[in-house]
Amino acid sequence: MTGFSTTIAFGLVRRLAAVGLDTPSLYLLIAEAAAIPAIQADIAAEVQVQLGVGLRHLAATDVRLDCLENAFARDPDRPVTLITLDRWLPKLATALDRNVVLLTRSGAILLLADPRAAERLLTAAPNLRNRLSDVLAIRPDEAFGGTVA
């Protein structure tokens, strides 16, 4: 996968803090599949600590295509949404691409995917790619021993 800047959850959430949660942000985060659970936990903790809000976490397989509006509706208590693309779902990619304005209306949306899914998403969804605030490679915060590398 092409070399995007690498960050950890701390740096990512620091960027969200700079932008503020009133400004829509849409990030694609690329991580090795094995590291994804650790990164999800890192992001949830950083969002709580740095921003003082909750994280809404959805798996791609949980997103109902007929209710995209609900999936991306603003939740004042949890204005940061993390969507993990746990499987490659071409219909979801198309729906996100065509309805990308729903993703860029409120708060921060973080799409987390492994390199393969990220590459497919960037290729299959040109409107989405165009609206991304940034694409970042993300790795787990290795503050504690035993974290998946």
Binding site: F4, D66, K91, L122, N130
Partner: protein, 424 residues
Amino acid sequence: METVADSKPGAVVFDRRQLYRPFLERLNPTGSQSLLADGLVVAPDHDPRDIGRPPIHVAFANTAELTRGSQMALVGGIGSGKTTELLLTQKVLSRHPDAVNVYVDMADYADLSEISTGAILATAGIQLYRRLLKKARNKELPDAVKAAWVKLRALAFGKTDWVKQPPDPYEYEPDADEAYEVVRVHVPGVMKLRLPALRRQVVEILGQFLTIASSLESESQTTLLVDGLDRLIKPELFRQFAEQDLQALKGTKISVIIVAPLLFLYDKNRFLQDYFDVVKHIPAAAADPRTSAFLRQILERRGALHFMDRTEIAAIAKYSGGVLRDLLTLARSSAEYAYRDGEDRIGRRHVKAAVKQLGNRYLVGLGNDQKGLLRRLSEDGEFPMENSTARELLVNRQVLEYFRGGLDSLAVHPALARVLPRPV
């Protein structure tokens, strides 16, 4: 800019977030409507393809005002500023007190992966009814209009009815004549309709829409501005909407300005040019970064000079390739990198990092065929437009079109060109 947040009395702590946040908010490329209200949009002063002609929003507004019922299409690459042009058109049209402007982004009302023909008319009718309700304040709307609204809502969103069960077919005994199976036989006529007949459901929706519209003063100037359907990308899907919803509006005095997918422009059938009264094309690159001050003005209007020198502004303009959304993305990423580094100003290395990120985004997913086409364009200036892979590069903005000195020219997006690997 400085906040008192330290425990020591009188100590002042610098909060860098407060420095960057307003700038980043102004760089949000998705909030055109509020940016317009805040005066942050720099309106183009001429047609992007002809400096002697008025800008697109003025041309559209003039046509809608002088020829009621005209239908206009706006095509352009992703992020080229089509929504901004529509909003500017709406603003110009509002100069007349009898103007009724209905702006709809179809994605606000419907899942674009699931919508069917009739949806534009239904959405416009819903918006128009909402407008009439607000205007009427406490007065009642005519019964016919209220009834049309109820029917329109049912047609748009469906309804649940109680119906009698038909008799069990196994208990039915047909007469001898009815026992014959009926098959459909079509005898072709000598003529083929240029446009297909309107579907029954579209006709029904049109009827309700026109009843609602009849509440407007007969001499009012109504313009429907439709955004979002360019995201369908495939021309044939868009064509169905034009042949049904827009065709249905022909003959009414309601003007339509609609955003269409860019691929249509290269369609051999020339449907776009044949169907619409006016077609305007915004090249992905709104301006040539080498010769135009337009891009720098946009950044300066949003406060860039407080954060970076003119050299950095010029570099961002250059590597945006003239694409407005990339211009804002680069400025925003550069600011985020400067913030990450704990610096108060955006430096050269922050811009460089942002350019590399943007270039990589365009590079992802490109195979050898695409890379070969890009290299040919860079080195020999050749680009086979008849090739579908080449056209995709254009639609996805990896290749940009410029209009210089009366001639069209193509170039690899400068941020992509910077990261495009050389052949081994």
